[in-house]
């Protein structure tokens, strides 16, 4: 698969009255054409901020992209001028946000909201845009689409609104769809519908998808590759099977252990990740996970491990479980 997006050393911080918050610290990853990349992490792990930084959607100030590169079709997104990046948003990269209830303007009809980006980016006539809006609503599976173009957002249920949001993100046929916790606010039944929809659309339209979530459960059946973020850094990335079968970072291990399973293959007790994420106000020299890590050794407190290969496509930032050592089960730990 051809490389579509190449992010290198992305670093973003926020200047707050309390000091500088190091929200994203040197994040690098690739996205292939047609690939679904899952990004998983707790609140505050920098998963959303890094994605917003790519499109320069973070408020500046207080936010600032300190350094990094994001090559998309040979252009560095972080260096484009305002007009060019605006063109990029919506037309090349579509964004779906977490809360479908607040992401739509309550005073605008659904059809108008859908048409807006197409009028702007594709220079369609209002009539063309309306026809295309109708197609999009059909595409995302809204029943009776023709009658619903003139409805207002409050006439749609949560799941239906998230479909509208997806339709809007797809309106200009973007190369990348970034979905930020698109199903967190929805019921499982609706989540299953949205996941099925995105999988189907990806197959049909051939776009790449970045799915941000805090729930490893959703990603298992959705993502090709998963990136795990902690305290503003990537601590592990791997193809989906390897990440679930052979996790090489204690944090990933903890996230998987904390997840109960509906199929009953559950432990008597859920794994606890004790403690809480570090204060991002202070620069951290040791491994950011060390204070919560049951595997931590002296070395973890001295140097922050870099993201190093475990195998071909699998990388982990851990002195104990990472590297090319034995898989977790055989590691000697005390």
């Amino acid at each position: 698969m051809a490389r579509l997006l190449e992010v290198r050393d992305l670093t973003t911080c926020f200047h707050t009255p309390e000091g500088v918050v190091h929200a994203v610290n040197g994040v690098s990853f690739d996205l292939a054409e047609g690939e679904t990349l899952g990004i998983v992490g707790e609140s505050g792990s920098g998963k959303t901020v890094s994605m917003l930084s790519l499109l320069r959607l973070i408020p500046e100030p207080p936010g600032r992209i300190v350094r990094g590169q994001a090559l998309f079709q040979g252009k560095d997104l972080l260096k484009l001028d305002r007009e060019a990046i605006q063109k990029m948003r919506g037309s090349q990269v579509g964004f779906v946000f977490q809360d479908p209830m607040t992401s739509l303007n309550p005073l605008m009809r659904i059809g108008e909201q859908l048409s807006e980006p197409m009028l702007k980016h594709l220079r369609l006539t209002p009539r063309q845009a309306r026809n295309r809006s109708l197609e999009l609503l059909k595409l995302v599976g809204i029943p009776g689409a023709a009658h619903r173009l003139d409805d207002y957002p409050h006439q749609f249920s949560g799941g239906m609104r998230q479909r509208v949001m997806i339709a809007m993100a797809l309106s200009c046929e973007p190369k990348i769809l970034i979905a930020d916790e698109p199903t967190t606010a929805l019921d499982v039944t609706i989540q299953a519908q949205v996941v099925a929809l995105v999988k189907d659309l990806r197959r049909r339209l051939g776009m790449a998808v970045i799915w941000i979530t805090h729930d490893l459960g959703v990603l298992a059946g959705l993502a090709h590759r998963v990136v795990v973020m902690y305290a503003g850094s990537i601590v592990e990335q791997a193809p989906v099977r390897q990440l679930y079968k052979d996790p090489r970072h204690p944090y990933t291990l903890g996230l998987l252990g904390a997840l109960p399973r509906v199929d009953g293959q559950h432990a008597e007790r859920l794994a606890n990740i004790a403690g809480r994420p570090p204060d991002l106000l202070k620069p951290i020299i040791h491994c950011p996970f060390a204070p919560r890590c049951r595997f931590a050794i002296a070395r973890c407190w001295e140097t922050n491990p870099a993201l190093l290969p475990v195998s071909d496509a699998h990388q982990s930032a851990c002195w104990v479980l990472g590297g090319t050592g034995e898989p977790f089960g055989e590691t000697q730990v005390d």
Binding site: T16, G19, V21, S43, G44, D279, L281
Partner: protein, 302 residues
Amino acid sequence: MTARVKASGQPTARPGLGARLAEATTGRQALGRLLHNRMALLGLIIIVVYVVLAAFPSILTQHDPNVQNLARTLEPPSAEYRLGTDEFGRDVLSRVLHGARLSFTIAGLAVILGGLSGFAIGLLAGYFGGAVDTVLMRLMDVLLAMPGILLAIAVIAALGAGIGNVIIAIGIYNIPQFARLTRSTVLGVKTQDFVLASRSIGSSAPEILVRHIIPNAWGAPFVFAMLRFSTAILTASGLSFLGLGVSPPTPEWGAMLAASRGYMRLAPHLVLAYGLAISTLVLGFNALGEGLRDVFDPRTAR
């Protein structure tokens, strides 16, 4: 700990209204933010200056506000009379400062009277709802149906003129405004989960009102009180201007402004002095009120 929640920009869970209210919780933080708010600081300075001068007029002038010197009427500002003299040769500066005293007293007592009654009514109507709400709020609607100054005039007409009655008149016409605001605030607080949580442990209505509703509902009415303070000063002056408030020779801004109208051509400094005295203090209270609103409402802060 605070730093993590706030500074990382993403609290560990979705913050509700409770969290936003909490932002302004601690007194020291609120004070700090108040001092950083230029508007509020300006208002505070103006008010403090007025209060100090009203309390100790001798800082600026030794003249008695009521002593007439008919030999020196309508004089422009000079070294002896810093703001000149009025039509009876009284020291304008002294009268302005003593007028401030009176204005503070009238407006203060009227706002306290109206504010506390209105707060209590709004609290009961909002918390208990139902018939209590309907009866109390319809009553408030009756009061609101009349324009404020007319209502005050009607009260004065019934009770007669005089400082005490002016206070009552302005106080009464403030009641419905505070009641409405308090009621809507209480309606918002009442539905918060922590009120339900307190009910679930068996707290009685008075316990809930005192522990949960009042501490979370007084902010908006308090800020409103600052804004009403300036209106009360204007209304008091207005009543006196119309001859319904305080009677001469008591130095009251409105009454003095009314009297000096006749000498606008001859001695414009009179109108200017009284007018500016009123508007500066009103400006001060408005600025403080607006500033406080920002401080108490974290959504508009910063």
